[in-house]
């Protein structure tokens, strides 16, 4: 479960807040897409949930308690939230297995091998354990990034434009796989994207952001059928 209440954030030098008074709730195991144009504040919101940015005010809670509030602040490494970065952010000096192993922490060698193989099977990358990131395709890299995020056993996964560097055919394949994996593991997921098709195919619900404000939140079909204004209509139909 994730609960965001009245969260706002401004950056110095900018009069307009990057995120303003945003509130929503994501149930356990639910998948939500945060969609908006560039500069709409969706990535800033995601980074605040991850703990990589500090909100100016508001509250962020998960089922483990308050992550950010008036008196609370949990550092990113203690939040048990996984983040799949835009380019994957695989450590270039580590092989695929080492990237996954780093996320798993101290385990006996045999168990570590077993669990790495298990996660690689989950993202359909059997046999690629010894490859280095530069020896993988863009899609494979993103799948390793997902496997690595899952390997840390998070309560929730955040995905920051994970398909933005991939071609159309690969994106279609990958988003199906990501959705399947998250549903299989029953993990709460929040996807940030500017692509309406990605948003529609990934999530149970969609949240649309514009200029830092959450303008519409609802089930995918509801938002597609009944956009609240012209902006949402154009954005969600991908025109």
């Amino acid at each position: 479960m994730l609960e965001v209440q009245n969260v706002s954030k401004s950056f110095s030098g900018n009069d307009v807040p990057a995120v303003y008074d945003v509130s929503f709730r994501v149930a356990a195991g639910e998948l939500l897409s945060l969609v908006g144009e560039s500069g709409s504040g969706k990535t800033t919101l995601l980074r605040m949930i991850a703990g990589l940015e500090i909100p100016d005010r508001g509250q962020i809670r998960t089922n483990r308690g308050c992550l950010f509030g008036e008196k609370d602040w949990v550092v990113p490494e203690k939040r048990r939230i996984g983040l799949v970065f835009q380019g994957g952010a695989l450590f270039p000096h580590m092989s695929v297995a080492q990237n996954l192993g780093y996320a798993m922490g101290q385990l006996p060698k045999s168990e570590l091998r077993e669990r790495i193989a298990e996660y690689l099977t989950l993202v359909q990358l059997d046999g690629k354990a010894k490859r280095y990131p530069h020896e993988l395709s863009g899609g494979e890299r993103q799948r390793v990034a997902l496997a690595r995020a899952l390997a840390a056993k998070p309560d929730m996964i955040l995905l920051d434009e994970p398909y933005s560097n991939l071609d159309v055919a690969l994106t279609a394949d990958l988003r199906e796989q990501v959705r399947d994996v998250l549903q299989q593991k029953k993990i709460t997921g929040v996807l940030v994207t500017h692509d309406a098709a990605d948003a529609r195919h990934f999530a149970d619900r969609i949240a649309i952001m514009r200029k830092g404000v959450l303008v519409q939140l609802g089930l995918v079909q509801d938002v597609v059928d009944h956009p609240c204004d012209m902006y949402c209509s154009l954005l969600i139909r991908g025109r």
Binding site: L52, E77, G82, F85, G87, A89, A103, H134
Partner: protein, 546 residues
């Protein structure tokens, strides 16, 4: 003239005046080193004697110094570079450049100031003799002497490592640090498993420079009585008069240095340390609580105190004490000679480095590019070897020029020193200029070409304006190195020719320790000025690329 750029564009095999000039430059730079290798095969009666007596000692001493100085330099440079690059603490900006300042102190000047500190260990040596006998006291004395030498060499050489690591840690993409945090890892784990391995090429490059400097060291090891391979070459060549054995020792040094570099390159050939497709932002510095911040300040202060403050303060006191009897006329003459020689050579050398880097960029024949790159590796060769090579080469040419009656037209002139400086310090200017040249997008060359401009026009109207500040920065770096240079100048200087470095070293060798202070301080002051100029330039470049 045809232009074909390394990083793109169609390539066309073509010999032109550009390639011919570049090859001539490269061959001139390589010639002294070739002369050393050719000389190895001359017969020598003393070699077996050297192998059986002093060679193992030279090797062992060199190895002890290389390992010791590398280790202590890592201890000085690694934490300080990490703190300055990743944390925000009071006086951070001061320490950022103060930690570079020991680089301005020549190793021999540092050695003068620490030499009598050895006397403080005499009570300990006496106690060791009383408790465990004479042999044990000898061991204690050696440990103290070697330890002090390692400490003082590390304290002035660690900035080679610090500068590279600070830049590497600052430039590492913040996304990897964030990825580490999102996997639940604390800062210590991120440093150990992400930041440090990703900085490995920089760490190795910095350590290689330090190893080369230690192998090259003459003044400090000579004062402390620790004969290394370089000292061995001096003794064999000038003491025994055995050239061939000296050359063989020189080749051993070169082979060791290149073997280390080749092993490291082979070991990391499959690894990569950067990924192009990441969101490109730097990590933000973390603000520290006050108590931890002061511990960090203390860590930063230690190497600066040992490597800069202590030697400079002692030299200042000595200089004041020696003012009454000091021969200022002589001093000003040596200062003018040093400044003139260093400035002209540094400027000329940087221009040649720029020309060579550009030649490699526009070169279509990879063999020529490799030849040029090989000719710029003189820094890996100890300067005494370079000096010996220049002497052999120019001695041979003198022999030919004078119609087989020996005279010192070339080998006894400033030309010999200038050429030797060129060979030795070309790496210092070439490597950064080549890196900057590669940073210029290949499409600029292609645009110039499609606008009907030739190679020379591209050089003068595109690359020169873009890189002229880099050339000046490299010239400053070379200037500092030349001002501090000792063994090369000792080998090649014409009679009655002195630089500030040889002037100071001469006083110290004769026991006039106070008289060596003023020339040493002038070298340090010029070095500090040069480093401040370069630091400002680095900051400007960094702010441009952010």
């Amino acid at each position: 003239m045809g232009v074909s750029v390394r990083s793109g564009g169609a390539r066309k095999q073509r010999i032109n005046s550009w390639s011919v000039s570049a090859v001539c430059c490269a061959l001139l730079l390589l010639a002294p080193l070739i002369a050393v290798f050719v000389g190895v095969f001359q017969p020598t009666a003393e070699w077996q004697h050297l192998v059986g007596t002093v060679l193992p000692g030279y090797l062992m001493n060199t190895l002890i110094l290389v390992l010791g100085v590398s280790l202590v330099s890592i201890l000085f440079a690694l934490p300080t570079a990490w703190f300055v690059a990743t944390y925000e603490f009071p006086t951070r900006r001061f320490w950022k450049w103060a930690l570079v300042m020991p680089l301005a102190v020549p190793t021999f000047a540092s050695a003068f100031t620490y030499f009598d500190v050895l006397e403080w260990s005499i009570p300990l040596i006496i106690k060791a003799r009383q408790a465990w006998g004479f042999d044990a006291s000898q061991w204690v004395e050696r440990v103290v002497r070697y330890g002090m030498l390692i400490l003082l060499l590390s304290s002035v050489l660690y900035p080679y490592l610090y500068l590279g690591l600070r830049s590497a840690f600052s430039k590492q993409q913040g996304v990897y640090f964030e990825a580490g945090r999102m996997l639940g890892k604390p800062p210590g784990s991120i440093f150990r498993w992400i930041a440090l391995p990703m900085a490995r090429p920089t760490l190795i490059a910095g350590l290689s420079l330090i190893v080369m400097e230690v192998v090259n060291e003459y003044g400090a090891v000579n004062l402390f009585g620790v004969p290394t391979l370089t000292e061995g070459i001096f003794r064999t060549w000038f003491g025994l008069g055995d050239r061939a054995s000296g050359l063989r020792l020189a080749v051993i040094v070169v082979v060791i240095v290149f073997a280390v570099l080749a092993f490291e390159a082979w070991q990391r050939k499959r690894l990569r340390y950067v990924e192009g497709a990441q969101a490109n932002f730097r990590h933000r510095r973390v603000r520290l609580p006050r108590r931890r911040a002061w511990i960090i300040v203390l860590c930063c202060a230690c190497p600066v105190l040992i490597g800069f403050v202590f030697p400079v303060v002692r030299l200042v006191f000595w200089a004041i004490a020696a003012t009454d009897k000091f021969d200022f006329a002589d001093f000003f003459q040596q200062a003018a000679t040093s400044l003139g020689l260093a400035s002209i050579t540094a400027l000329l050398l940087s221009l040649v480095a720029f020309f060579l880097a550009f030649s490699v960029r526009v070169q279509s024949d990879s063999r020529i590019s490799k030849l040029i790159q090989a000719s710029t590796l003189g820094y890996a060769i100890p300067s005494v070897v370079t000096g010996v090579g220049v002497m052999v080469l120019l001695g041979g040419l003198d022999h030919l020029l004078s119609g087989f009656s020996f005279s010192l037209v070339l080998s006894g002139s400033l030309f010999a020193i200038g050429l030797a400086y060129m060979v030795r310090f070309m790496t210092v200017a070439y490597q950064p200029l080549d890196a900057s040249m590669q940073g210029i997008c290949a499409t600029l060359d292609e645009a110039s070409r499609t606008l009907g401009q030739g190679t020379w026009q591209s050089l003068s109207r595109i690359h020169w304006p873009l890189l002229r500040m880099n050339i000046l920065a490299c010239a400053t770096l070379v200037f500092i190195d030349i001002m501090k240079e000792l063994p090369l100048t000792l080998v090649l200087r014409p009679s009655d020719f002195e630089t500030l470095a040889t002037f100071a070293f001469g006083f110290a060798k004769e026991g006039y320790i106070y008289d060596c202070a003023l020339p040493s301080l002038l070298i340090i002051a010029l070095g500090v000025w040069g480093l401040l100029v370069i630091e400002r330039w680095i900051d400007k470049e960094a702010s441009k690329s952010c």
